[in-house]
Amino acid sequence: MTTSSTRGLLQATGLCLAFGGVKAVEDFSFDAKPGEIVGIIGPNGAGKTTVFNLITGVYAPDKGSVVLDGIELTGWRQDAIARQGIGRTFQNIRLFKGLNVLENVMTASDPYAPYNFFSAILALPAKRAADRQAAQKAREYLDLVGLAGMEDARPESLPYGLQRKLELARALAIQPKVILLDEPAAGLNPSEVREFIDLVRRLHERFNFTIVFIEHRMEVVMNLSHKLFVLSFGKLLASGEPEAVRRNPEVIEAYIGEEE
């Protein structure tokens, strides 16, 4: 990356959001530099997913701003933000059940596919070529996460671990500058978790994108993240190097208080 490494690629400043009277997120700021892997942790209900929803435009913040690569995205529509280069996965996997595995990944390039309505309904050569290319690319992403050979399967028929990988491949396929992973290791068994950590490392080395992830598993958090932000009751509790954060008494307090 050529962008100056001191400036954040993704910068959220002073995010606030209340549902009715409940403050879900209060004055939360964080930033991620190009190529950085940032973890967001915190007890259940601390507002982590809400932060993702604010960044990706599912909710508009009451206050605060989100800037990606110098462009302010606050108040943009969700799909426009995605096209600007923020990909994401979901805590409770959300695949497209009406489409097969390959098509799930192809949806990433569909918003840009270079053919018009008439080429589509007449299956003109332009459309065929573009779709073939898109399928080829999608297959590469499936290869990367280890789903080669399963193109025709129905996503809901895959085992849980593979569904997570498919969702990851789908998010990668939009070629994001920043990828947000919401509890990517939830529901995986210990060997799958290790495999997952390796996979993320490999992908990160290859694409060198910025990763922001929410996670409860300390193994994943300590292994992957360069920087940690701790959320508690919608507020920033601590941030910094993973080791330092782990020893922070306030953080320990917040976690023990939750009796996890």
């Binding site: 489409l99 399928a135 193109e151």
Partner: protein, 285 residues
């Protein structure tokens, strides 16, 4: 023979109408209760142009479909961004509104007595060719980037948006295409039956189309077409009274919803028969 001929023709026209419903419901997951109204627009516009100005059939067929599409734009623009429940309401209201307009502009449309004297321009061969052409267009649409984005947003709008899919635009484009196709079905009907009356287009027709799509399986165009043929022609051949026919439809639908929620065909498409043999080639048709 004439009887069979007319059943086949009407079945063909119904198939085209069902294609429109399939797109709106099967692809984008919306329920249109006013789909038959687009048929009315197509039929009335083309018939009136012929009767008043003597324009040739191919031209009025085109204008009729285009008029249906324009009406679709009017209804679709404000509604695509609303909750799905609202879309059924708006399309329903639209259907009623169209019928009330047709009934109340008697000097133009013949009002409740109907529009008579439309020349016969449609016969079975033309309907068959039309079915094949429309089916080709719709199948290609389903297999294109449009179809994929629609199916994505049908299962999960939020996830679809997170992939950069412009959900509202996709819904609108599909809605317009469906309106045009349905309008064309209306043109065919007008120039086949030579007589139009507003009462023919009420919401039960739209509901019947929905049921047909549902019985076939909302994920399968093949299923929709097969069930259109069976559910339209069989009761006619067996000469059921229409109330009994609908009664039987309803019972079938209830059974399917409860015991086979994906419809008879699930997501099976006939194109898989020849897709299977070749190694996968870019997921193209």
């Amino acid at each position: 023979m004439d009887y069979i001929y007319s059943i086949l023709t009407l079945t063909g026209i119904t198939m085209i109408g069902v294609m429109g419903t399939y797109m709106v419901t099967g692809l984008t997951g919306q329920f249109s209760f006013g789909q038959a109204a687009f048929m009315a627009v197509g039929g009335y516009v083309s018939a009136m142009l012929t009767l008043k100005f003597g324009l040739p059939f191919p031209l009025v067929a085109l204008v009729g479909s285009a008029a249906a599409m324009l009406t679709g734009l009017l209804v679709g623009m404000p509604t695509v961004r609303l909750r799905r429940d609202y879309i059924s309401l708006v399309t329903f209201g639209f259907g009623e509104a169209i019928i009330s307009v047709l009934n109340n502009s008697a000097q133009l449309t013949g009002g409740a007595e109907g529009l008579v004297g439309i020349p016969k321009r449609v016969d079975l061969p033309l309907v068959i060719v039309s079915v094949v052409c429309c089916l080709f267009l719709v199948a290609c649409y389903k297999n294109s980037k449009y179809g994929r984005q629609c199916l994505a947003l049908r299962t999960d709008e939020l996830a679809a948006r997170s992939m950069g899919i412009d959900v509202n635009r996709m819904k609108l484009v599909t809605f317009l295409f469906a309106s045009a196709i349905t309008g064309y079905a209306g043109v065919l009907y007008a120039f086949y039956s030579q007589y139009l009356e507003p009462g023919y287009y009420n919401w039960t027709v739209s509901a019947e189309w929905l049921i047909i799509v549902f019985v076939g399986g909302i994920n399968s165009l093949t299923g929709a077409m097969v069930s259109a043929v069976i559910l339209t022609s069989l009761p006619e051949l067996l000469r059921f009274a229409s109330a009994w026919r609908i009664l039987i439809y309803c019972i079938i639908v209830l059974l399917i919803i409860n015991f086979r929620p994906n419809g008879i065909f699930g997501d099976w498409e006939i194109s898989r028969l020849w897709k299977k043999r070749k190694p996968v080639q870019g997921g193209l048709p």
